[in-house]
């Protein structure tokens, strides 16, 4: 049985859970496979960190947890720091370029960056950064057919936002197709702002 472990992490409000849900749904419903998605809450329901785990398989998944992810998608610095060490050797690390600064080179990993937030903002709604990320994920990993993911996106968002989200998906997917070719091991991110007053 082939089994792929995926973790998507960031902070509350970035739509981490929905992204994971789309991936799982694509596998389960539009690919006739199996998927188990679990979430880790912070101690409180609001704010703070947010992380979701998806296990995709061709047969029902028994053990529902991700222990050594094949793919890690991080959308915050904290998520990057916390979860990168878990990644399987040779695993894929997908990062939100504007939110995460790599602290070291990861020669044992395949690292890909995407400015998902910026791309989402270009579409007029920062909110859809998670779906941009899903598109990017689809293109880079090739784990699931583009169409399955597309349908899962369409099926997971309110009707009023369907169009927008589908555009976000495409945007991420395209960006991934371009970037997927170059191993962006040396993703370097803008310095984050800091204060001292």
């Amino acid at each position: 049985m082939s089994l792929t472990e995926i973790r998507i992490a960031g902070f509350g409000g970035q739509g981490v859970i929905l992204a994971a849900q789309v991936v799982g749904k694509a596998a389960c419903i539009y690919q006739d496979g199996y998927a188990t998605m679990t979430q880790s809450f912070g101690p409180e329901a609001r704010g703070g960190s947010s992380s979701a785990q998806v296990v995709i398989a061709s047969e029902p998944v028994l053990y529902p947890y991700v222990t050594r992810p094949d793919v890690l998608v991080v959308m915050s610095q904290e998520a990057y720091t916390r979860f990168t060490p878990e990644l399987k050797d040779g695993g894929m690390l997908l990062v939100e370029e504007d939110m995460v600064r790599l602290s070291q080179p990861h020669s044992n990993l395949k690292v890909y960056g995407v400015p998902a937030t910026r791309l989402a903002e270009e579409l007029g709604k920062r909110m859809v950064l998670n779906i941009v990320m899903v598109g990017f994920f689809g293109a880079i990993t090739g784990l699931l057919p583009q169409e399955a993911l597309r349908q899962a996106v369409a099926d997971s968002v309110p009707a009023a936002f369907r169009e927008l989200n589908l555009r976000a998906f495409e945007k991420g997917y395209e960006y991934g197709l371009q970037k997927g070719l170059e191993n962006t091991e040396d993703v370097r991110l803008l310095p984050l702002h800091s204060f001292d007053e």
Binding site: E44, A45, R46, G48
Partner: protein
């Protein structure tokens, strides 16, 4: 050269600094109420060692855990009866109940009306964000009609309580309502109730951008604050029957009730003295020397 007079945030000494930052969302009003509370404590010069905070469960319920006072985070809805036991066992305490609208008026409604009836010396601060926030935005008995909540996805149809009217009918000695916009008035009310004996009730309308407003397209915390500023009307002494809230209507604020009813312990003392004379042993004196063996240790 300039000299610094208050180089420390006045609320800071009241906070458990090691627990900051708190869990409340950006634009949540609960923290603002804490500022007014801190100011009231300072102004009223109560002995801080003798102030106890009792909270139930909820976002507001977390106040107890952030205040550097003797503080109790009890069970959902039961802050008032816990506080009742605490106050009766140690009458020297200034006991403040600080909790949410759901905690105090949904599951806890019975305790509130009975404590008001008894007129026991508790100071109840109810942060009313019109929703069950901690659990994710369900209908509260305060949620105004037509608002969307997770348990009323097509809009709330249950009528809401008018909290001041209920508190008054049950017997509260002091009833006021403010919003988090009214930081000074709120502080003044809090100061007043520290000086007043009996059951006192202060309702504070407070933004919940994350769960109440977002779902109802009411903007963020600041939008709520502006709304309060624009739609509030101060009517001290307004008949509480007239101060019910609606989703977008006027918010009547002010001190509605401030009356003298004998306090529970005074009633108790009077009755026992009347019946038993010298044989009555007033345990208010004994609270200082608990019988449980206190200092002796194990």
């Amino acid at each position: 050269m300039s000299e610094v007079l208050t180089p420390v945030n006045p609320v800071e000494p009241f906070l458990r600094a090691e627990r900051m930052p708190h869990i409340w969302c950006p634009g949540c009003g609960i923290g603002t109420t804490v500022n007014s509370f801190a100011r009231a404590l300072i102004e009223s010069k109560v002995d801080l060692d003798r102030v106890a905070i009792v909270s139930g469960i909820g976002c507001t319920g977390r106040v107890a855990g952030y205040l550097k006072l003797d503080s109790f985070h009890t069970t959902h809805g039961r802050a008032i009866p816990f506080a009742t036991g605490l106050k009766l066992a140690n009458p020297a305490l200034q006991v403040v109940v600080y909790s949410g609208d759901g905690d105090l008026f949904a599951i806890g409604g019975n305790h509130l009306i009975h404590a008001a009836r008894r007129n026991i010396d508790l100071k109840v601060i109810c942060v009313n964000n019109l929703i069950y926030a901690m659990t994710g935005g369900q209908t509260a008995p305060t949620t105004p009609g037509a608002a969307i909540t997770t348990t009323a996805p097509y809009g709330v149809y249950e009528p809401a309580f008018n909290l001041p009217a209920l508190a008054e009918a049950a017997g509260a000695s002091y009833v006021a309502r403010w919003t988090t916009f009214h930081v000074r008035q709120m502080a003044r009310s809090m100061q007043e109730v520290f000086a007043k004996k009996g059951f006192c009730f202060i309702e504070v309308l407070s933004p919940c951008p994350t769960l109440y407003q977002r779902r109802n397209k009411m903007g963020d915390g600041l939008d709520a604050m502006k709304f309060y500023k624009e739609h509030s009307r101060t009517r001290n002494g307004a008949p509480t029957g007239e101060v019910g809230l609606t989703r977008d209507g006027e918010i009547v604020v002010g001190k509605f009730v401030d009356r003298d009813r004998p306090e529970f312990r005074d009633l108790m003392r009077d009755r026992f003295t009347h019946q038993l004379g010298d044989r009555y042993v007033d345990d208010a004196e004994m609270a200082e020397h608990p019988h449980c063996g206190g200092e002796d240790g194990a």
